[in-house]
Symmetry: C2
Subunit: 403 residues, 2 copies
């Protein structure tokens, strides 16, 4: 593993969030890892550690944990902890929740994933304190827990009081980029796929993957240009993201969960609410290259019904699919424009709205392929949702190496 | 006036829509006008004409007419014809519905504007046939009426049967660009403005206005890059436009008209439904330059309320303003990204959703100014809504010259 370069003057400056925040606000450079397919930055088990071999991404709703299972140890997890699986009932798209990470020179470790509601963090801390995790990881020696996401501040005192662990908050986007690049470059499995005809088509990723656009869709959207394993820049964003879909779907339908909304968005007919080029011109608009069956306006067809009657005129499923097309269309279109601006033809879509969500994969893929005439691919990733945690764990390992 | 150049091989090819439609689908070149402040392409009155000195943009809802008043003639218009005025009650922002166009070498003509529901076209044709318009314009000699917009096909037979007028359909975007450039370059008045502190700040336009982006917001959005008086290219578009605002507002509120929706969007508090950076991180996200009070997700705050309770939790006005911010944010943001892609820092916003709409002007201006740190201006235009008709009229005048 390479040592910190001249751009990282002290150990502390790598670990502290403060220095990052007072950066030039645009570009970050991380140089402490060598990312290759054959050498991982991860250490052997059994090392006497001070940083926890576990990291957490404490989001507004869910906390996502990534941790090492040392050797063949079985760990009994509490009931509220969810193993990872597709949010779509009827689909079985998510891989084994254990990712075997091969480190040629150091043997093989298992990277494990789990999530639970952020509100359960106090219970989880109690579990960690009283379970055999203490023996397995020698918790008495641990001093530092790397955390990313907004919840880190909220639970820092509890972690200190209950487990004598110091929370070290890590920058969310930095962790995201580190996590994605680790998955792309350090894992032996193919974990990157396109979604064509309702099928995942896995593809090999080479170190020539850079530069690429990383479109991370949570409540809103952040778009990062990633130019090297540890270099990125936030180049754009959007207000129209998963929070927009959820919010408007809550206001417009009686679906009670994201799962119900997604199911409806699968069988609805957005054509009933959306306006097409042919609805405006009666045919195509050839002189500027608009096909007759191209969408022209999300929810634009509603103006054809008297306003007072609109509420009872459309099915909830049509509306849910219309919202899905509106949000995915916006995300796909912005991504496409940015590929032109930045001369990049690879986009990876990640984030809570995209993770395990074939409805979103299909909508984004279809629109991006149409608009770019096939020149730009939409790529998705396994273990989406855990990249922040993986990045924070990598920083743990790095800190451990420095100690 | 310049004659058709080598790029326009015959008179017919200028007039026919067919040739345009089989163009390269990307870039159009029109060279038949000289656009200067001192020389207009418009002819003297009293010329024995074959093309009508009137043109129509027959939209899905409203038909917009532009016509010359020859000399001091008074014309009594039918009652369903609306004089132009602001759609916002309480505002008095729209200029005199008569635009005096000075032609130094040829005297001064008055260009008049009016609109009526497209459904009233049969009545208007009857009026035109039976009123003194016949004498004024010598309708017996007229053979051709230039029309743009989707309704041209629909009423072509009626115009032929009732008035023996041949409808010549003109390309909508071509007419839009011609109309905007005529207004910018040929009129003595200042008709272009920014909207700052609820006030129109008029600005001088010079022939160095090119290139600029023309963001035309109707039901959907078309974005044109205009590089010369008669050169443009459709470079982008968006599904999220006026039809989206109207459609979702109809579904989500009990407002019955666009005017009511706009009034509500003025006093609503979108902050109640939108998620901010501080709602996610508890503060700013400095390392990527996101201020605490920056919007993060349109309607993203709704996820903080249980889904079943959301419907009764938010006021209709807050929702209307949230929709306005979502649509205007999308339009402003896309425009901003395209200024970077095309190295252009001037944007003109036009179209049915923008015309006479200070709520939209303010929302777009605020967001574009924030995101571009003031480097890109949002410009708006008087007589917005009539550019297609003006362009079609210019083509009438050109055709008349050729006859």
């Amino acid at each position: 593993m390479s040592q910190p370069s001249h751009s990282i003057p002290s150990k502390h400056s790598v670990l502290s969030n403060e220095d990052i925040e007072h950066d030039d606000h645009i570009t970050h450079t991380f140089e402490q890892y060598e990312f290759t397919k054959t050498q991982s930055p991860l250490p052997l088990n059994g090392v006497r550690r001070r940083t926890a071999p576990l990291s957490a991404d404490m989001g507004g709703t869910m906390t996502k944990i990534v941790f090492w299972i040392p050797g063949d140890t079985d760990i009994d997890l509490p009931k509220y902890v969810e193993p990872e699986e597709s949010v779509m009932s009827g689909f079985d798209l998510y891989p084994d929740p254990v990712l075997k990470v091969t480190m040629n020179s150091k043997g093989e470790n298992e990277l494990c994933f789990m999530k639970f509601p952020t509100s359960q963090i106090p219970e989880f801390i109690h579990y960690a304190k009283t379970s055999k995790l203490k023996e397995i990881y020698g918790i008495g020696n641990l001093q530092i827990l790397n955390v990313t996401g907004g919840g880190a501040y909220k639970f820092a005192n509890l972690l200190k009081d209950e487990m004598d662990l110091e929370v070290r908050q890590q920058d969310e986007m930095r962790c995201l980029v580190l996590g994605v690049n680790f998955l792309l470059l350090c894992c032996q499995e193919k974990l990157c796929f396109r979604f064509v005809n309702k099928t995942k088509l896995y593809r090999e990723v080479t170190p020539e993957i850079f530069p690429y656009l990383l479109v991370n869709v949570g409540s809103g959207v952040s778009i990062l240009k990633v130019t090297a394993p540890e270099k990125y820049e936030r180049v754009s964003g959007s207000l129209i993201g998963g929070g927009t879909f959820w919010g408007l779907c809550c206001l417009l339908t009686n679906y009670k969960s994201f799962d119900e909304m997604l199911q409806a968005a699968q069988y609805g007919q957005h054509q009933n609410v959306d306006l097409y080029v042919k609805d405006i011109y009666g045919r195509c608009y050839d002189s500027v290259g608009l096909a007759a069956d191209m969408m022209a306006s999300s929810f634009g067809k509603i103006q054809k019904v008297p306003c007072g009657e609109a509420k009872n005129h459309y099915s909830e499923a049509d509306i849910a699919q219309g919202l899905m097309m509106m949000v995915c269309g916006s995300i796909a279109h912005l991504g496409f424009e940015l590929t032109k601006l930045h001369h990049i033809n690879r986009i990876f879509y990640t984030g809570g709205f995209v993770a395990h969500n074939p409805v979103v994969w299909e909508a984004i893929t279809t629109m991006l392929t149409t608009w770019s005439s096939g020149s730009v691919d939409a790529n998705f990733l396994e273990y989406d949702g855990y990249f922040g945690s993986i990045g924070a764990l990598l920083l743990s390992e790095y800190e451990e190496e420095l100690m």
